[in-house]
């Protein structure tokens, strides 16, 4: 029993976690014909809380309530792992990255996000504001503009062989590549 828990506590390799993530697609289809996706929940929340007469938010969001249950489940699952199934060792990344990030003062690998960048104090600095509020805005804008996020397009869309999803996924990768390599360094230097 303890051996199993020890194995579960370690990070799972890609060839285990990847296929399991892929199985979310048939799971949701079989549970009730639902299309796997995360970011549409943002739209449903807006429609539920402040439709404000915007046509984009005028639809029966209650029909999509399953998605809100799913997304809150994701939060609970993440919380569960952090409390009971987390690895005491830190995330192990390429030494080149460790060296590069150290130049920006990022040395704490204990959390999923670097606590030296994302904390309450830095929320009141330009860098923190750009990274947290600016990022949040871009996530909200981008997922609606593309009609989906990595889950909806890359996993669900590609699984069902949809061209728009392939285009979206390629653009996500290009966007991420440009941001991480060319834009983020100047933000980190702020």
């Amino acid at each position: 029993m303890f051996i199993i828990i020890d194995v579960l506590k370690q990070p799972w390799p890609w060839y285990v976690s990847g296929p399991l993530i892929g199985l979310m697609v048939p799971l949701l289809l079989i549970l009730g014909n639902k299309a796997f996706g995360i970011s549409s929940s943002l739209r449903h929340m807006c429609a539920a809380c402040m439709p404000a007469g915007i046509p984009f938010f005028q639809y029966n969001w209650k029909k999509e309530a399953w998605n809100l249950f799913f997304v809150t489940g994701v939060l609970m699952g993440g919380f569960f792992v952090a409390q009971f199934l987390s690895d005491p060792a830190h995330v192990v990344v390429n030494t080149k990255l460790v060296k590069e990030l150290a130049d920006y003062g990022i040395t704490d690998y204990t959390n999923l996000v670097p606590s030296q960048l994302f904390n309450w104090q830095s929320l009141f600095s330009i860098k923190g504001l750009v990274m947290m509020v600016g990022d949040g805005f871009l996530v909200g804008f981008g997922t609606r503009y593309a009609g989906g996020c990595t889950s909806g397009h890359a996993i669900m869309g590609l699984s069902t062989l949809q061209w728009p999803s392939l285009v979206a996924t390629c653009c996500f990768m290009i966007g991420g590549f440009i941001m991480a390599n060319f834009i983020l360094p100047s933000i980190l230097s702020l």
């Binding site: 990070p11 799972w12 890609w14 060839y15 976690s17 990847g18 296929p19 399991l20 993530i21 892929g22 199985l23 979310m24 697609v25 048939p26 799971l27 949701l28 289809l29 079989i30 549970l31 009730g32 014909n33 639902k34 299309a35 029966n60 309530a65 399953w66 249950f69 799913f70 809150t72 489940g73 994701v74 939060l75 699952g77 993440g78 569960f80 792992v81 199934l85 987390s86 995330v91 390429n94 080149k96 990255l97 690998y109 999923l112 670097p114 994302f118 593309a146 397009h153 890359a154 996993i155 590609l158 699984s159 069902t160 949809q162 728009p164 999803s165 991420g176 941001m179 991480a180 390599n181």
Partner: protein
């Protein structure tokens, strides 16, 4: 059709499962994402790639064997709308 709350609970469980996977696969780690876009690790590409392949095979099998939902509905995949 609107689902009743007790029909929605199963999606909560599916979500919990997915949440556990996201953390254990480290795909929501800021460090892993930086590593991926700097092409310094195969991990993320492995996760996304194998997830897509698994999903594709699963959808193909659902169509081929005409697998139904737990409530007996036939499964349809709709094109993504913007």
């Amino acid at each position: 059709m609107e689902d009743k709350w007790y029909q929605l609970v199963k999606y909560r469980f599916a979500g919990v499962l997915f949440g556990i996977l996201l953390v254990k696969a480290e795909v929501i780690s800021w460090f892993r994402i930086q590593e991926m876009f700097r092409l310094q690790s195969f991990h993320m590409f492995g996760v996304i790639g194998s997830a897509v392949v698994t999903g594709m095979i699963a959808v193909l099998m659902i169509k081929k064997f005409k697998i139904k939902t737990v409530d007996g509905e036939s499964i349809e995949t709709h094109p993504k709308k913007n």
